[in-house]
Subunit: 211 residues, 4 copies
Amino acid sequence: MKRVELNKENKRASLLKTSFQLFSEKGFAKTSISDIVKEAGMAKGTFYLYFKDKYDLRDQLVIRKSLQVIREANEALESKPQKGFENQFIAYVDHIIECLEKDKILLRFINRNLSGALFESMMEGAIGADLQNLLRRCEESMAAEHIICSNLHLMVFTLMELLSGTMYSCILDGQPVTMEEYLPYLHESIRAIIHAFCREQAEDTENPAEP
Amino acid sequence: MKRVELNKENKRASLLKTSFQLFSEKGFAKTSISDIVKEAGMAKGTFYLYFKDKYDLRDQLVIRKSLQVIREANEALESKPQKGFENQFIAYVDHIIECLEKDKILLRFINRNLSGALFESMMEGAIGADLQNLLRRCEESMAAEHIICSNLHLMVFTLMELLSGTMYSCILDGQPVTMEEYLPYLHESIRAIIHAFCREQAEDTENPAEP
Amino acid sequence: MKRVELNKENKRASLLKTSFQLFSEKGFAKTSISDIVKEAGMAKGTFYLYFKDKYDLRDQLVIRKSLQVIREANEALESKPQKGFENQFIAYVDHIIECLEKDKILLRFINRNLSGALFESMMEGAIGADLQNLLRRCEESMAAEHIICSNLHLMVFTLMELLSGTMYSCILDGQPVTMEEYLPYLHESIRAIIHAFCREQAEDTENPAEP
Amino acid sequence: MKRVELNKENKRASLLKTSFQLFSEKGFAKTSISDIVKEAGMAKGTFYLYFKDKYDLRDQLVIRKSLQVIREANEALESKPQKGFENQFIAYVDHIIECLEKDKILLRFINRNLSGALFESMMEGAIGADLQNLLRRCEESMAAEHIICSNLHLMVFTLMELLSGTMYSCILDGQPVTMEEYLPYLHESIRAIIHAFCREQAEDTENPAEP
DNA sequence: CATGAATGAGTATTCATTCAT
DNA sequence: CATGAATGAATACTCATTCAT
C-alpha cells in the first residue's frame, strides 16, 4: 500500500522494481505475489496481466539485470579503450567488479537466481548477442596483436567462472578476503590463464599471416 | 538398548536417503515433508523426532554429502601419492571430479543447496578440519620442494572457485563442453594459477632470504 | 460497489454468528476454524480475510455482545425513568439481569471469554464511553438528590463485581438458588452497599438546597 | 530435563508442582504434557501412570490449591479468635486476602481454572466439608450473639462472590485501585451486607421468637 | 484494463496417547 | 514401575489463481 507508484503509466516496471527489492530482502521463496502487489500498490489480479507467475517475473528480472551489467561493462570498455588484449580483458573484468561492488544487492540477486536453464535461454537472446560481440572483439584484438589462442571459448568460460565465483565470495561475504585485497591476485590469475591458453605468433617474416 | 539405538539410526538414515532422492528429483522447494515421510514409510511426527524442520534436514544432508566427497578425495590421494606439489594438487582435483562425475545428483545437490551461511558453519566443523589438513599438507609439500607461495590461502581459494564453477557447468550441463574435453584446459589453468602464485626458492645453500 | 460491500458485511456477520454458536456449544478451545467455516459454508481462506485468527474473532465477538447488553440496558433505563438514584441503579441492574436471563448463552459466553486484557481494551472503546456515560448520569442524579458518595468509582466497581459474580452462579447454575429467589437479597445488598458509600448532604438552612 | 527432581519418592508431587508453574506461566491451553514431563525430568509415559490426562491434572491441582487457602484461613482464624461474628468474618476474609496477596500466582491460577463444574464437585469433597464447617461456626457465633440472619447461605454466597471478584481485580490488576486502597471500602461493604441480612434478636425474655 | 473477494488445496507443525522394551 | 520412540489425526495458516464486477 505504499504509493500509487507512478500510477497508470508503468505497472510492469513498478512490479519489476518492487519484486527485485523484495526478492533481495526476503529471498524468492519467501516473497509472495501478495507481498509484491501490496508493496507496489496494486491489485492481485493486475499481476497476472503482466506476468505468467512468480517464476516468469523472476526470470525477466534476472535477464534485465544481467543485461544491464553487461551493457554497462561494454559501454565503459568502449569509452576507455585499453592497449593490448590482456589489458582490455582485465579492464572489462574490473568494470564488472566495480559495477557489482556498487550494487551488491544486484550481485546477490543474480547469483541466487541465475539457474542453469535460464542462463542458457539468455544466451540465445540479447545477452548472447552481446557476448558474441565480446568474443568477436577479443578475436579482433588478438588477431591484431598476432596472438593465437588454443580455444577462445573455453578461455572465456574459464575466466568467467573464476570471476563469478570469487566475486561472489569476496564482494558479498568478504571471504576469505575483501575484493580490494583479492584484486591483484585475481589479475595475476587472469593473466596466467590467458598465457596458458595463448601464445604469440612466431616471427612475422616466416609466417606472413597464415598463408 | 542396542536394538533401539540401531533402529533410530536406521530411521534417520532412511529419512536422509529418501529426502536426498526427492530433493534431487523435484528440488528442495517442491519437496514437502509429507512427501518425504510418505516415501520413507513413516508417520509425519516421526520426522520431527529427528530434524527440526526441512531446512535442518537439508543442512545435515549437505554436510554429510560434502564431507563424503572430501574424505574420498583425501583417501584416494593418500593411497596414490604423487610426485611434486603441483601434480599432487591436480590429482586431488581429479579425484573430486571423478567422484562427482560418478554421482552427478550429488554434485547438483551440493551446488544447489550449499548456501554461504551453511558453508561457513561447515568450515568450523569436521569439513573445516579436513581442509585445514589439506592446507597443511600443501605447505609441507611446498616446503619440501623449496617452493614459496605468495599466499597459499588465496591460491587454494582461487583454484577451488575455478574448479567448482567449471565442474558444475561441464559435468551437469556439458556446457560449453564436456568435462572430458575440458579437463586438459582445466589442468593447464590450474598449473598456470599455481605458477602465478608460486616461485621456486633461490639457490639452495646460499639462499640469503630474498636478496 | 454497494452489492459487494453488503456481501462482505454479510460474510463477517455470518462468521460471527456461527462462531458464537459453536463457541457456546463446544467451548472456544474445542472449536476449530475448520468447524466454523464449514458451518458457515465458506472456504477456509475466507476466514482470514475477516479475522486475524481465532482469538481476534473471539475478542470482536465479546466486544459486540457486551456492547449490545449495555446498550439495551441503557435504552431500557431511558424509556422507563425511575425516581431516585437508588431505584434507578436497581432498575439498571434488573435490566441487565433480565436481558442475560433471556440469553443465557450470551451470559456464559461473556463470562467465559472476558479476559482482563480484553476488558481493559474495551474500556477504552465504545463500551468505556457508555460506562462513562453511566457514571456521569449517576453523578447527576446524586447531585440532584443532595447525595454525597465517598467514592463513586469504587462503589460502581463493588456493585458490578457483586452483580456479575452472583448473576453467573444463579442464572446459569441455579446455584445456590435461582435468580428469581436471589433477586430480593441482591436488591437489599445493593441498597446496603449504596448506603455504605453514600450519605445525604447536611442541613437545609446553610445550604438551602439550591433554590 | 531439569533435575532428577527427588527421584523415585514423589513423582506425583513433582508433576503437580511443575505443572502449576507452567500453567501459571504459559496458561493451561499452551502447556503441553511434553512441556510438563520435560520440565519435571521424566518420561512421557510416566505422566499417564499418575493422571488420566491434562484435565485430570488441572482439576487435582485446583482442588489442592484451593483447599490449601481455605485451610490456612481456617487455621489463622482459630489461632487469633475475634470478638463478634462480624469481626470474625472480616478477619476470615482478611486472611484469605493476605494469603492470596502473598501468592498472586495461586490467585490467578485458581481464578483461571476454577470452572463451575469443578467447583461443584469440590463442594462435595473436603472443601465442601470445610465450608460446611465454616457455616456451622457462623451459626454458632450468631446464636451466641443473638443475631438472626434471614438467610445465612445466601449471605455467605453474596459475600464470597463480592470478595472473589474484587480480589481478583485489585490484587492482580491493581484495577481500579490496589487491594490496600480498596480494603476499607470492602470492609464497609461486607458490614453493610451483613447488616442487610441480619438483625439483632429483640429482648431475650420478652421476645420468644417473632410473635 | 483493473480490481480484490473468494477459493481450497496444500503445508508445516503439534501433541495426546500407546506400547514394546 | 518407568521409559521414550512412534504414531497420525488434527490444526492453524498460506497463497497462487480465478472471475464477476
